[in-house]
């Protein structure tokens, strides 16, 4: 049976670049990104679709790429953390916020957090603390707790809204 499964063509725009590959249909999007595209920023942190470390943006929505087949991403636009920095090479406001507000320790969860926060801010440019917490509920962090992650997202919202950014409270 296994041998007869056909490879399927997948054409997807990843971080603005159109790519086409032939894949086994059971290939998960996370493996496609990490192994076919060498984009290893998106991580695999669980086996239960809970942790959100694999979060990417697909046609403007946040998805867990460990629970999407690459074939389901056919003809979509996928953005990963590798495509996050500004065109001139400076950090995105969220990346800056995570650094300024100490929103990361080991950093394993960070790419998924950043990608989720990016879509959250696109949907709601000025979220309250409660809305941020509700919005990142599908992203688990083992290290920092969520306080500094929330602050990092607030920092980015302030910056993107043209307001002064708060200093990291120590």
């Amino acid at each position: 049976m296994t041998d007869t499964i056909e490879q399927v063509a997948v054409a997807v725009t990843v971080n603005g670049k159109r790519v086409k590959r032939f894949v086994d249909p059971r290939t998960l999007l996370i493996h496609f990104l990490r192994e076919e595209m060498n984009l290893t920023g998106s991580h695999i942190g669980c086996e239960t679709s809970h942790c959100g470390a694999c979060t990417v943006e697909m046609d403007g929505l946040s998805v867990k790429s460990c629970t999407v087949f690459a074939v389901q991403a056919n003809d979509t636009e996928v953005n990963t953390v590798e495509g996050m920095a500004n065109a001139d090479g400076t950090l995105h406001a969220l990346q800056e916020g995570f650094r300024q507000m100490h929103g990361l320790q080991c950093g394993f969860c960070t790419p998924g957090m950043l990608m989720r926060a990016k879509v959250l801010l696109a949907e709601n440019p000025d979220p309250s603390e409660d809305e941020i917490r509700f919005g990142i509920a599908g992203n688990l962090c083992r290290c920092t707790g969520y306080q500094n992650i929330v602050k990092a997202i607030q920092y980015a919202a302030d910056k993107l809204n043209g307001r002064a950014q708060k200093e990291a409270a120590e």
């Binding site: 296994t2 499964i5 979060t55 074939v71 509700f134 509920a137 599908g138």
Partner: protein
């Protein structure tokens, strides 16, 4: 973990999807949001040889009013349910429930059709659809049939859905203007399935309950329609004594398993607590029109 191998089909019409399902019998399965099916395939608890992706079928998408009914296409995602102004205005319990399902990423993929067709007693929408007295529209190569949500569930992962059938839409009688509703869900943490949950929809006339429906999630092998509990509140003002009686009637029909979420006795008791809470909330909302 990587799922077992399968052949992937991406039909663009229901007719095409039904033909693929008919050709492969029980080796084929529809794929909607994949957020129940893909985890099961990773664990090899499901090993379909053919997956029929419903994602490209336009006829299955969308939410619309149709006379006295609201029609929700099977592939409407939980995120779309939350965004719908029609649902927020006419049947807010759907939005309230969708917001309590898992997390934003899962809600952007998980569909109403997949949630109700799956047959997992942990899914939240089946009880809510029973509370709304929804009808499921099922299509096969042989034609169409309609099954009430209250008749659809037969056991854990065991439903009236037959081989070769696709649930195409859910039809909901539009609840009366001014009704009150609530979905109260106890869970261990955000994103978790219910330890116990209760849905209530009622109407109030002259300060008294005129009609009521109460249903329960995850305290039996199927969602439960607590018919007796609903009858007990009619003609009352949902005072504490009535709420207690209704909660006891709801608890009496539960049969929860002892699991990581608690013992059977605890989960049964929580079904009662959720029933009383949902009743109070729905009654207050009906009175204030909130």
């Amino acid at each position: 973990m990587i799922p077992g191998p399968f052949t992937y089909h991406r039909p663009s019409s229901v007719a095409e999807a039904l033909a693929v399902l008919a050709a492969h019998g029980d080796e084929a399965r529809p794929l909607a949001g994949g957020h129940s099916l893909i985890p099961m395939m990773k664990l090899r608890m499901a090993t379909p040889e053919h997956l029929v992706d419903l994602g490209a079928i336009k006829e299955l998408a969308g939410i619309r009013a149709d006379g006295a009914e609201i029609v929700i296409g099977a592939t409407t995602t939980q995120a779309e349910l939350i965004k719908s102004e029609l649902l927020a205005a006419k049947a807010p319990i759907i939005r309230e429930t969708a917001m309590q399902i898992a997390d934003p990423q899962i809600r952007s993929k998980g569909t109403l059709g997949g949630n109700v067709a799956n047959g997992d007693p942990g899914n939240d929408m089946p009880a809510v659809m029973q509370c709304l007295d929804a009808r499921y529209v099922l299509q096969s190569k042989g034609g169409e049939r309609i099954v009430a949500a209250r008749d659809f569930y037969q056991g854990a992962y065991f439903t009236a859905l037959q081989e070769g059938e696709i649930l195409v839409a859910v039809r909901i009688p539009t609840p009366a203007a001014g009704h009150g509703s609530a979905y109260e869900k106890l869970k261990r943490k955000i994103g978790d399935y219910a330890t116990a949950a209760a849905a209530v929809i009622l109407t109030v006339s002259g300060g008294k309950v005129a009609s009521a429906a109460i249903t329960l999630t995850n305290v039996g092998s199927t969602p439960l329609f607590a018919e007796e509990a609903g009858k007990l509140v009619i003609g009352t003002n949902c005072d504490a004594a009535t709420a207690k009686k209704a909660a006891e009637a709801a608890m009496a029909i539960t049969d929860p398993a002892t699991d990581g979420r608690g013992t059977a006795a605890y989960r049964r008791a929580m079904a009662g607590v959720m029933t009383a809470r949902a009743l109070a909330k729905a009654f207050a909302r009906a009175k204030t029109g909130a």
